[in-house]
Point group: C7
Chain length 93, copies 7
């Protein structure tokens, strides 16, 4: 289990299959980094003027995040992304 | 549905048809980025000295925003812009 | 109508006719940007330590502002300047 | 009349006649910018932790200020300097 | 004994044996810096709006931290890493 | 008289006669700037979270300050240094 | 006597005799700057949200500090280092 600290969030990136206009499936290095992810774990929150406030996103949320934000980590064989909640732009239903 | 976080706002850009002085309609790459948009969704607000305050703009507002501000995202086939309320300059009636 | 957000102000620049010492009227590209304007609209104010405070300038004030501050916007056929109150240096009577 | 905003101050620079060691009076472009001025008008003050506090300098004070600080403005035929109080180093009696 | 100050944490890096795809064990200079560590000691905490708050990590926690964060120190023959808690991304169970 | 503003301090630098190892007295341009000074005047203090607090140094103190900090000013024929109290490192008895 | 201001600390660096692997004692210019020191004097503290709080280190503590932090000063014939407490990483027992 991985528990992020403070205002951090652990995401699992959602890969979209990507084809070029002419229908060719792109190999991994030619694809843009994914911008959508699923929230795996959320931190305990952050301090606002001395009071601790919880995060807005919840485990299981599907979110859009800033490309290249955060740090990729590998726990066992799985890859995750750890970023600050402020790098998450929106929740998608 | 797309729900922005914190002080963020989701906009749909309003394209204006653009002609040069001599009446030629410009192809997309030659046009400046649009600076007007319609508010599609607003975040829950931001903290000011420990108190959460709502945003000034509302869903449906027509706004002028800083050129190049924010992040373009594609949800399904539609393109939106997600930016912070501080990148919105004014509401136009 | 254009309603600026927060601590922003909408100005209409006051053009001064400019002549060189020898009396030649300068064409527009040779003139410096105007530094004086008339306040057209003011935002709702800004937060100071959690309390919202109104702006110091009022609609109709004639003001001196920092050269190159703010963003030029065109509403209909009219050009305005939207800037933060902190870019306004003084009110002139 | 010119009324500065917030923590700004309007100064009239005090020119000192300047001679080189050999007694030659320097033409204007060869002189250093004046560092002394007389306070013409003071702003309404600034916010410190949500409370408005007045400025330390008063109209009529003779002050030393940071070279190149502030913005030169011309009102009518007169030239003034508008700067923030924090660019004023000291009052001289 | 080593006691970090404020919001700092002393870690002992956890080395993973590293082989290249072809099975060659890499000599130390060719390995990436470890990103996992064990908490050896934690500081007294940090101030949030005038109140001292304790750290989230505890002695003995296994943590993931930002590569290249912190300062390597040698106490006796042992090497440690001293970093701020904000450079620790997550606790791993 | 010169009265510094806010958290500023007026110093008179204390020149030390400087000789090279071989006993040669250095001309002024070859000497390092003095790092010791005597406090001539102190400002009214600074704001900490909305409360004005006085400075730690007093008139007459002998202090060590950061080399190159502050601004040199000339009042009449005398040269002074005006700097912020935060550029003073220590008081020497 | 030397009394540091605010959150500053006066240290006496602890030199370790340094030999290369082959046993050669290095002359001073070839050695790394010391990272350990003994606290000689501590400042009166710093402000956290309007309240003055004392420092964590005490006179006589043996500390590890950031290489190259602070300012070297010479009082009489002795050399000291003055740095901010935030440049001290840990206390060593």
């Amino acid at each position: 289990m991985i528990k992020p600290l403070g205002d951090r969030v652990v995401l699992k990136a959602i890969e979209k299959e990507e084809k070029t206009a002419s229908g060719i499936v792109l190999p991994e290095t030619a694809k843009e980094k994914p911008q959508e992810g699923k929230v795996i774990a959320v931190g305990s929150g952050r301090y606002e003027n001395g009071q601790k406030v919880g995060l807005e996103v919840n485990e299981g949320d599907r979110v859009i995040f800033s490309k290249y934000a955060g740090t990729e980590v590998k726990v066992g064989e799985e890859e995750f992304l750890i970023l600050r909640e402020s790098d998450i732009l929106a929740v998608v239903d």
